[in-house]
């Protein structure tokens, strides 16, 4: 017989959890006490805020493919997870969050630090449960890992009352292999594969859109094989970036509000649209009424509730895209589409002339964010991970970062959570100290979780923080300029001395204001062994283009 608290820790070890991201407090103290005895088997990272813990777990999960583990106390500890849960749910990130809870006999009595975390987290989790007895702890954790990692991954939460943590029980850990009400995978419908193949074979202008589903299914090789055989142009969503090397001949760019010109515009000229592991987010489709109406749509998607949700499919290929892509590759004929592909290249050149040249190769005036990313590409390692926050810097970094390998893109896509990047970069770095992790943030977002510089200091994670500082909440300011008559309502920031802050947290820090100093600073940062903080003061009122304004169609993508 061992204590419930030991069962919690030993269950996590049995699930091969490498890290726990957490913060102690009253209702979870027995588990923290138990952790003391297992520090040789599982590592705990003490963040500076529970939101930091969950974002760090997300960063870890996104680069590793494992479930991120979070451990916090009841009440405010638990409520501070809510943003991260919502973020992980919409971006399909596997997380197992364990929250302490007041003793079972106090439930509903408004006891100190009691909150209904199961109720609060219900819309933000794939599954959650409250455990009130020691015997239920291990089965609940086993089920939690199974549900978090299988099917379309997502966050789960296990709330454990304090009495269950201190009671004694047997520990015989049994991994959860299935849940009778939950069937995450289906056999691929052979007829659908035949129908999809025949559409693809007869298509004149087929077009592939790929998303994070490819990464989550570990289907990068299958996607490449499909494109190698069919020669179909392929564009990436925000979270799909990295699933296909940008050097691949089929790769034509990025989709969405601030994606590339050709991929957006030509969506309305293709005849067969093949969507792989993506969910037709409104930032990708623009006005749905004018989205790819001319095209037959094939949707390869694991989650049945995504099929026909936003875009009606001609052929639905439900199931794991690793399986459906390889079946589809067998069923289609080898082909190439040189003329159709050249349309993409023509428009790409237009975008280069109108936008990209100036973004990457500024000569006068303030520095552009794009110049920084361009230099990062020159000095970064092949498999460097780019972690971004939310806003202009996120879109610019995504547009210009050279994605060569998978699981190199960590950002808050669906929820758009400012403050995500710094803790997520920490989590991504902890998965592998030897892999370069570059955290690009804005001056707004970094201040939402700036306290996590302390966690980076304590863990010695060699994160490279690149602060692109324009003294504005830049994306909101851009919208105010374009759509609200330049009424800059509460978007200008009076900022602290970021270098002093970074140095106080033991970062090597450098501030760049002049174009001539940028290259040496980026090089110095990426060669530095430990944590590094590079602040680049950029043009205050730069805008991100191309852009599809809200309510516009993908074909109304504008270059200025």
């Amino acid at each position: 017989m061992i204590r419930g608290a030991d069962i919690v820790v030993r269950s996590l070890i049995a699930e091969n959890a490498e890290y726990i991201f957490g913060y102690p407090g009253g209702a979870i103290m027995p588990v923290y006490d138990a952790l003391y005895d297992y520090s040789d088997q599982i590592k705990h990272v003490l963040t500076r805020h529970e939101q930091g813990a969950i974002h760090a777990a997300q960063g870890y999960a996104r680069v590793s493919g494992n479930a991120g583990v979070v451990l916090v106390t009841s009440g405010p500890g638990a409520t501070n997870l809510i943003t991260g849960l919502a973020d992980a749910l919409i971006d399909s990130t596997p997380l197992v969050c364990i929250t302490g809870q007041v003793a079972a006999h106090l439930l509903g009595s408004d006891a100190f630090q009691e909150t209904d975390v199961v109720g609060l987290s219900m819309p933000g989790t794939k599954w959650n449960i409250q455990v009130r007895r020691v015997a239920d702890i291990a089965p609940a954790i086993a089920k939690a890992f199974h549900i978090a990692k299988t099917g379309r991954p997502g966050p789960v939460l296990v709330d454990i009352t304090k009495n269950a943590q201190v009671e004694f029980g047997e520990f015989n850990y049994v991994h959860c292999e299935s849940v009778r009400s939950y069937k995450p995978y289906v056999r691929i419908d052979e007829q659908a594969v035949i129908d999809a193949a025949s559409l693809i074979n007869s298509a004149q202008r087929p077009y592939v859109l790929f998303g994070q589903g490819v990464v989550l299914a570990n289907a990068e090789a299958e996607l490449k094989a499909f494109l190698d055989k069919t020669g179909i142009p392929a564009a990436s969503t925000l979270l799909g970036s990295g699933a296909l090397s940008q050097c691949h001949p089929s790769y034509v760019g990025k989709l969405g509000m601030h994606g590339n010109y050709a991929p957006n515009l030509l969506t309305n000229q293709c005849d067969v649209l093949i969507a792989v592991g993506m969910r037709f987010d409104d930032r990708v489709t623009g006005d749905l009424k004018r989205y790819a109406k001319q095209a037959k749509v094939i949707h390869l998607e694991l989650d049945p509730s995504e099929i026909d949700k936003n875009v009606k499919t001609t052929v639905a290929l439900q199931g794991d895209c690793k399986a459906s892509l390889s079946l589809l590759t067998k069923a289609v004929k080898a082909n190439e589409h040189p003329e159709w592909m050249s349309r993409f290249r023509e428009l790409e050149n237009e975008e280069k002339k109108a936008v990209i040249a100036n973004d990457l190769h500024g000569t006068h005036g303030g520095l552009h964010m794009g110049e920084v990313i361009h230099l990062i590409n020159q000095f970064k390692e092949q498999d460097a991970v780019l972690v971004t926050d939310v806003g202009q810097h996120q879109m610019i970094a995504w547009r210009y970062f050279d994605y060569k390998t998978t699981r190199t893109q960590v950002t808050s896509g669906g929820l758009g959570t400012m403050g995500f990047a710094l803790p997520a970069a920490l989590g991504a770095q902890l998965h592998n100290y030897n892999r370069q992790v570059i955290c690009v943030v804005g001056d707004g977002g970094i201040q939402m979780t700036i306290q996590e510089l302390g966690t980076i200091m304590q863990t010695k994670a060699p994160v490279k923080v690149v602060l692109l500082n324009n003294n504005y909440l830049g994306m909101v300011r851009q919208w105010q300029q374009l759509f609200f008559d330049k009424r800059y309502s509460f978007t200008e920031l009076e900022n602290p001395d970021f270098i002093k802050i970074a140095e106080a947290y033991s970062f090597r820090a450098r501030k760049v204001t002049e174009r001539d100093d940028l290259e040496s600073a980026v090089a110095e940062m990426l060669l530095h062994q430990g944590p590094y903080f590079l602040e680049v003061v950029v043009e205050k009122e730069d805008n991100v283009f191309p852009m599809i304004a809200t309510g516009c169609s993908v074909e109304e993508v504008r270059l200025s």
Binding site: G119, M122, W127, V186, S305, D320
Partner: protein, 172 residues
């Protein structure tokens, strides 16, 4: 807009009803009526939900309900695809009992299921239109209280939750 009945088969876990109703709340859709009870299968609950929505909405709602981990299966039906019934109870003061009331009870084939010194309780089952019609008739009898259940329903098309449960989980 159509009236639909959704039949949901679930595990009998705490909070499952909440997980299902928030799917409606989030989309701003009203639940017209809801009943929940054990099904004929051991340990499996059946929830019957009535909602007035478009066909697009009912498809999406049903998929979202089925996506809930502890939901085994969810089906939706139009009114002509289910046999359904609602029960209504009417409390009428004894002082208002007169031959007119007897006529009404006979006409509707309703029952008096309780008689106290002060009041009687009339029970009547049927579709909402029927129980509503009786309600209108009883109002002049100084009706004291009225209570109506959500619908319980049996689907006409054949499906088997047991069969679904028996199918092995498919692992790729």
């Amino acid at each position: 807009m159509n009236r639909y009945t959704i039949l949901v088969y679930t595990e009998n876990f705490i909070g499952i009803l909440n997980r299902i109703t928030i799917i409606f709340t989030r989309r701003g859709i009203n639940i017209d009526a809801l009943t929940a009870s054990e099904s004929r299968l051991d340990g499996i609950h059946k929830i019957t939900i009535e909602a007035t929505v478009t066909e697009e909405q009912i498809v999406q709602l049903t998929k979202q309900i089925e996506k809930v981990v502890d939901v085994i299966k969810a089906y939706y039906f139009k009114d002509d695809e289910v046999v359904y019934q609602e029960i209504a109870l009417y409390k009428v003061p004894t002082e208002n009992l007169d031959p007119g009331l007897e006529k009404v009870i006979r006409q509707f084939n309703a029952h008096i299921i309780a008689a106290e010194k002060e009041f009687v309780v009339i029970e009547f089952t049927g579709h909402k239109e029927d129980t509503q019609a009786l309600l209108e008739i009883l109002k002049p009898f100084n009706l004291l209280e009225f209570s109506r259940s959500g619908r319980v329903a049996i689907a006409k098309p054949k499906f088997s939750v047991q069969e679904y449960l028996n199918n092995q989980t498919y692992n790729h």
